[in-house]
C-alpha cells in the first residue's frame, strides 16, 4: 500500500491504477493519513523553507464548531454564502498561523534534503550535435531498442537537433 501511494505521488501509476488507489484512500482513514504524511515529507524535502503542515484536522474541527444558521427558506442561499466565506476566512487564518509558526520554529533535517537533491541531480548537458550522427547511427545498428521498435528507433538519429 505504501509503495502504491509513493508510486502514485511519483506519477508512476496508470490512470486506472491511480483511480483505484485514490478510491481506497478515500475509504481507508489509515491510508488517508499515509497520503498526507507522504505529501508532508515530499514538501519538506523539496522546499524546506515553506513547510506546509497538515491542518486538515484542525480545519475540520473548526468547521464542526461553526454555528449552524437556522433561517427561513428564502434566505438559505445567502446564508450558505456567508457560511462559506466565514469558513474560508477561518481556513486562511489557520493556514497563516501555521505557516508563521513553521517559519519560525522548524529546522528541516538537512541530510535528508541533501540526499534527495543528489538523486534528483541531472548533470548539465548540451543537445546532441549533428557531428554525433555517425556515432548515433553506429550505435543504433546494435542497440536492442531496435529489436522491438524496428525501423522507428532510427528516429533518434534522424530527428532534428
Amino acid at each position: 500500500m505504501k509503495q502504491d501511494i509513493s508510486a502514485l505521488m511519483d506519477g508512476e501509476l496508470f490512470d486506472d491504477e491511480a483511480e483505484a488507489l485514490l478510491d481506497k484512500i478515500k475509504r481507508n482513514p489509515d491510508a488517508d493519513g499515509e497520503w498526507h504524511i507522504y505529501h508532508l515529507v515530499g514538501d519538506a524535502l523539496r522546499q524546506p523553507d515553506h513547510l506546509h503542515a497538515s491542518i486538515s484536522s484542525a480545519v475540520r474541527g473548526r468547521l464542526q464548531a461553526e454555528p449552524t444558521v437556522l433561517a427561513p427558506h428564502s434566505r438559505v442561499r445567502q446564508n450558505a454564502r456567508w457560511f462559506a466565506l466565514s469558513a474560508a476566512a477561518s481556513v486562511m487564518a489557520l493556514a497563516l498561523v501555521t505557516w508563521l509558526s513553521v517559519q519560525i520554529g522548524s529546522e528541516p533535517a538537512p541530510q535528508v534534503a541533501m540526499q534527495q537533491q543528489a538523486t534528483a541531480l541531472r548533470p548539465a548537458s548540451f543537445p546532441v550535435s549533428s557531428g554525433m550522427n555517425d556515432y548515433l547511427m553506429a550505435h543504433q545498428e546494435f542497440s536492442p531498442s531496435t529489436d522491438v521498435q524496428g525501423a522507428a528507433s532510427y528516429i533518434r538519429t534522424v530527428a532534428g537537433q
Binding site: 511519483d10 542497440s143 522491438v148 521498435q149 530527428a159
Partner: protein, 350 residues
C-alpha cells in the same frame, strides 16, 4: 541475405522459443511472449503510418512505411516537419539523407535481422526489469496491449509500451526517468497495417538518389568482395559510400565499472565517416537498452568536445583518456554513460 527468411519459418521458430521459455517462469511468460510478438511484428509486418516523436520541447512528425516480402525488409522513415530528412532501408543497406543532401550508405552489422528476441536477451530483460502488464487502451484506432518495464536499479530508464493487440505492432512507447517524468515519447497518430501499401518508393526513391537497382546490387557486391570504395564512373553515390567493413576484434579495451546487468554483445573495429583511422566500438545490452563505447585516437587539431550531451533518451558522453577519445552513447541515464566512460581502460594490446 540473412533477412530473406520466410515468414512461416520465423513464426514456427518463434513459437518454439516461446514454448521453450514457458517452463522457466510461468508467471511472466505471457509478457515475454508479448515481447516476442512485438519484436516479430516490428520486422515482419507491412504497415504505413504517421507518428509523433517528442522529447523535451521538441516535437516532430514523421512518416514510416515498412514492407516485408520475399526480398526481405524494406523500410522508409521520413520527417514531415522541418528540413527534409529520410532513411531508406533494405535489409542491411541504408540510404540516409540527413538534410545536407548527401546520401550515405551504411552497412548494418551482424546477423540481427532475425525478428525474434534471443533467449539470452529475454533473460537479461527479466533480470534487469520488472515486467508488468499495463492497462489496455485505444490508440490511433487500434486496441492496444500495454506493458511496463520497471528498472530494478537506477542505471536504466523505465519503459512503457503499447502494442496493437492483434498484430503486436508497437503503437506507442514512453521512456520515463526515475521521477516518473516522460523524457521521450513515440506515438502513432495514424496507421494502416497490411493491405495495400504504396511501394513505389521502394524503387522510386532509390532512383531519385541515383541508386538504381543495378547500382544497389553493385554496391552490395563490392562490399562483399573488397573493402575498397567502388569507383564505377558515373555513380556519385559511390563516392559517399564509406568503407563500412566492421570486423569483430578483441581490442584489449575494457570497461572496469560496467553497471550491473549489462552484457557485451559486440566488439568491432569499423570506419566512421570523416575519420582517418578506424574506431573501436564495444556494445553492451541490458536486454532493452544499449550502450556503445567508441574508442579512437584523438586528432588534437580537431575540437573533440568532451562532456555530456543528450537528446531524449539518448545520452552521449565524451572524454579524453591518454590521448584516446572515448565516446559513450546509450539509451540510459547520464550516470550510466558517465560511469562507463570513466572506467574505460586499455588492458594490453590494442
Amino acid at each position: 541475405m540473412q533477412a530473406a527468411v520466410i515468414k512461416p519459418a520465423c513464426l514456427s521458430v518463434l513459437l518454439l522459443l516461446a514454448s521453450a521459455g514457458a517452463c522457466a517462469d510461468p508467471v511472466r511468460q505471457d509478457d515475454l511472449n508479448w515481447l516476442q510478438i512485438m519484436a516479430f511484428a516490428a520486422h515482419q509486418t507491412d504497415y504505413s503510418g504517421t507518428f509523433v516523436y517528442r522529447y523535451g520541447d521538441h516535437v516532430e512528425t514523421s512518416r514510416i512505411t515498412h514492407i516485408a516480402d520475399h526480398d526481405g525488409e524494406h523500410g522508409r522513415l521520413e520527417s514531415l516537419d522541418g528540413p527534409r530528412r529520410e532513411i531508406i532501408r533494405h535489409n542491411d543497406q541504408m540510404w540516409c539523407d540527413l538534410g545536407n543532401g548527401k546520401i550515405k550508405i551504411e552497412q548494418r552489422q551482424g546477423g540481427r535481422e532475425f525478428p525474434a528476441l534471443l533467449p539470452e536477451q529475454l533473460t537479461l530483460l527479466n533480470k534487469n526489469y520488472l515486467i508488468k502488464t499495463a492497462e489496455e487502451v485505444r490508440l490511433a484506432g487500434f486496441h492496444a496491449h500495454g506493458m511496463v518495464f520497471q528498472p530494478k536499479d537506477n542505471f536504466r530508464y523505465m519503459h512503457k509500451m503499447w502494442a496493437d493487440s492483434i498484430s503486436g505492432l508497437l503503437l506507442k512507447s514512453e521512456v520515463l526517468d526515475e521521477r516518473g517524468g516522460v523524457i521521450e515519447q513515440y506515438s502513432f497518430t495514424q496507421l494502416s497495417i497490411g493491405g495495400d501499401i504504396d511501394r513505389k518508393w521502394v524503387v522510386a526513391n532509390q532512383a531519385a538518389a541515383g541508386l538504381h537497382a543495378a547500382d544497389v546490387q553493385k554496391v552490395r557486391q563490392t562490399h562483399n568482395d573488397s573493402r575498397d570504395v567502388p569507383h564505377d564512373g558515373n555513380t556519385h553515390p559511390a563516392d559517399s559510400v564509406p568503407k563500412t567493413t566492421a570486423d569483430s576484434v578483441a581490442s584489449g579495451w575494457r570497461v572496469d565499472a560496467l553497471p550491473d546487468g549489462f552484457k557485451k554483445i559486440a566488439e568491432v573495429r569499423r570506419q566512421l565517416r570523416g575519420k582517418d583511422a578506424p574506431v573501436i566500438q564495444m556494445v553492451f545490452s541490458d536486454g532493452l537498452a544499449g550502450i556503445s563505447v567508441f574508442i579512437e585516437k584523438s586528432d588534437s587539431d580537431e575540437d573533440d568536445h568532451e562532456g555530456l550531451s543528450s537528446q531524449g533518451v539518448i545520452q552521449v558522453y565524451s572524454k579524453l583518456i591518454n590521448g584516446q577519445l572515448i565516446t559513450v552513447v546509450g539509451e540510459v541515464p547520464p550516470r550510466t554513460v558517465m560511469q562507463v566512460a570513466d572506467s574505460v581502460r586499455n588492458g594490453g594490446s590494442q
